[in-house]
Symmetry: C2
Subunit: 198 residues, 2 copies
């Protein structure tokens, strides 16, 4: 299978990088072909310009390449830290620009854009790995863990992916080496479960 | 009073621009001094770099200016479309870079960053205006309206602003001129209520 792995963290020594590299290793060992995007490293431009908003808009070629790829892969893995209950801006902009009408969703004929869109993504499974410095109880009780609905309903659900596994590793800042090693084992096990050997 | 007005929309003919301009007019007529940031027009760079993450990190001078301003204003008005249950990337990045430790929040002594931070913003009131093409019932039932907790709890609540009014104008794409005129009257009335004449 072909799997996209999308990473958003500015520090290439980050645990997010370790998660992505662990996932890539497990995917490759299972015989999958990976499309890896370290969005910071690629200097992805996250600003959706006005002319790209319409369905028939004038799209930058680099965005068209991202669109072509995401619409044809069999699975998607997203890796990012929880910053303010949301992804880093670079990943938000990747969604803003790549998850276009006609690529990841579309409105039915006669719908002017106010109705319920149809998801177009071919992928049937997505996995989201997050890191956080907030403990799980506080994340739910104080903040409502918005990343849960953002990824499962607002983004992947709308685009036709209904099998989404999401896991947050926390608390990063006080974690021990043994904990982090265990977390990477969880990453490997998750990849084996959701994207098994072909 | 000094009020920051932060706008995130790429099209300067957008209704979001009309909202921001209406808010500015009402604020000015009430005798307030406005700091207006049209983030797209300013070409705000939303990518938080690695070296800016630590509290004592090396901050770009343009970001330091934003930090100085946001930490001293008496009120904040945010205007943006609902894109995937979140703000556009340019505004997400403004939060990522400007809402820094030591500027909008800080951890208490002895806390390594895993605890409950103290809000530092001087402003006591914030207003968030959103536009959307999803009707209110579907926004709540299917998506859980994540922007509500994002602004009220994850961002402003954490930074010490507990009086937050948020309103979404929808459905934009099928709205009539008369509706949009009424919506701008709502903007004016809201500004008069939350930031009355001094």
């Amino acid at each position: 299978m072909r799997i996209s792995v999308i990473l958003a963290h500015p520090d290439n020594r980050s645990f997010n990088h370790a998660i992505a590299e662990t996932a890539l290793k497990a995917l490759t060992s299972n015989g999958h072909h990976c499309h890896y995007h370290d969005l910071y490293k690629e200097k992805f431009d996250p600003l959706l310009p006005s002319q790209e908003i319409p369905k028939a808009g004038n799209i930058d070629p680099s965005i068209a390449a991202h669109c072509q790829q995401i619409s044809t892969v069999d699975g998607i893995i997203i890796v990012h830290p929880n910053w303010w209950g949301q992804p880093p801006a670079v990943l938000k902009g990747w969604i803003d620009r790549v998850f276009r009408p006609g690529v990841t969703y579309e409105f039915e004929e006669g719908d002017q854009g106010e109705g319920i869109p149809v998801g177009l993504l071919r992928a049937q499974r997505a996995v989201v790995f997050n890191t956080s410095n907030t403990n799980a109880k506080r994340e739910i009780e104080v903040f409502g863990d918005p990343l849960e609905t953002l990824w499962k309903n607002c983004i992947f659900g709308l685009c036709g992916i209904h099998h989404v596994y999401r896991h947050t590793f926390s608390v990063m800042v006080t974690s021990t080496l043994a904990q982090r090693q265990g977390w990477l084992e969880h990453v490997t096990a998750t990849v084996h479960k959701y994207f098994p050997s072909v």
